[in-house]
């Protein structure tokens, strides 16, 4: 279990390095898949199984799929992968930075993550789905505001990408 948690954290950080080093969107999306999957495993390791599954479904299965389709529209003939020099230098710098920071802050394992898991194994109501229940009950009108914000974001995106040549983003 210890090994699985360490492996998940390592893959999370490496996946984020793969995204942040700025390759072509295809490869960056691949890094995001790795990072999201590893992040979900980290969450599971700390007791947030519901949150982890929801993250997988919505983030990877929803948003990343849409992003992949949009990235396919902006196809490049020679996409930069992580082994082309311009991207590889960023990868090296980030990994070196990570090692430096890791050496500075290496203190040990912090057991006990009260964000997801207040009473460890002894509670019926876990932090993650308990929070969802609260969002729908006491959360009340703030949930309505969140729904409005999502609708607003839809209008914003549609307005920004309106039409073909009349849109702000694409001249195609």
């Amino acid at each position: 279990m210890f090994y699985v948690e360490i492996l998940s954290m390592l893959l999370l950080v490496l996946g984020l390095v793969a995204v942040a080093s700025n390759p072509a969107p295809y490869y960056a999306a691949l890094g995001l898949v790795l990072a999201a999957a590893a992040g979900c495993c980290v969450l599971v390791g700390h007791g947030g199984s519901f949150l982890s599954l929801v993250l997988f479904m919505i983030y990877l299965g929803g948003m990343l799929v849409v992003f992949a389709y949009s990235a396919a529209l902006a196809a490049e003939p020679y996409p930069e992968s992580w082994f082309d020099l311009s991207v590889f230098s960023y990868v090296v710098v980030y990994i070196l930075g990570l090692m430096v920071v890791g050496l500075c802050f290496f203190e040990g394992w912090y057991d006990g993550f009260w964000v997801v898991d207040e009473l460890k194994e002894f509670s019926l109501l876990r932090g993650d789905f308990g929070g969802v229940a609260l969002m729908y009950s006491l959360g009340g009108w703030v949930l309505v505001v969140c729904g409005w914000v999502l609708l607003l974001t839809l209008f914003v995106v549609l307005e920004l990408t309106r039409g073909l040549a009349r849109g702000a983003l694409r001249a195609v």
């Binding site: 703030v142 607003l152 914003v156 009349r166 849109g167 983003l169």
Partner: protein
Amino acid sequence: MNPYVLTTLILSLGLGTTLTFASSHWLLAWMGLEINTMAIIPLMAQQHHPRATEATTKYFLTQATAAAMILFASTMNAWTMGDWNINQISHPLATTTVTLALALKIGLAPMHFWLPEVLQGLNLTTGLVLSTWQKLAPFALILQISQNTNPALLTTLGVMSALVGGWGGLNQTQLRKLLAYSSIAHLGWMIIILQFMPALTLLNLTIYITMTSTMFLSLKIMASTKINSLALAWPKTPTLTTLIMLSLLSLGGLPPLTGFMPKWLILQELAKQDLPITATIMAMSALLSLFFYLRLCYTTTLTTFPNTNNTTSPWRLKSTQITLPLTITIILTLMLLPVTPAITTMF
């Protein structure tokens, strides 16, 4: 733009500011700020030319960074001190981070670099909304955290903004960039007095909003965005040309116009707090801003532009634009100084 979409966006602008005003929890305040950012993005890009798109992108990136920093700071404070309350933010790292984030949101130096470029890419109406309405929500938060922030940081932000606003505006011929630097300088004055008397910050913000609205609305009626075109615009409405001159002098902070009121009260409070050097530096930096306001007065009203003899002056036609807001703000910009005691009781 589709009128339904336009209504949705404008009402969402109102919703965002209202949410931030009404919240005591950092997350709800952050939501209000993000709603404001989202709602104004299509308004900024609605002309769909590359300059507007560039301005929109720059605005989005800076505001998103600032909002993320606010989220980090409030989470840090909740993690270490256990409190999500806006005015109970107490961990020094959290207060510094959130102050810098809010400074980035409104455009205080040294986080001001986005403001002139963004304002230049917009039309005058959207620029007006950006300079006035979008400052309200961050200032609501700034006023609430004022007692917990590092005084040295606030003083540095204030003095640097006043100086950068003055010096940066000296080299501008585009009016929107000039108004951006003027905005930076005024924000500096607002922040410098925040730690001593937040009521004066609010008073300065209100009067600044009035004066900037006057300038943007006047420029809209004159249909000019450069000093060159403003200099030739006097035949359109000579009355408005005179009033523009007086509004510019009010922006510069000259008595007996309204703009003198905040500067006077702030300098008085700084002197009472035993900070004569800070007060002197702020007053000197106001001279820099006054120089470019005076340059605008010269070219607009006080001198005739050296154009050739056979240029035609514009016909003096009745404007089809709504002039009521400009009427109200011009009167407020020029005539409020005698009622200073009444204004100070309102804040």
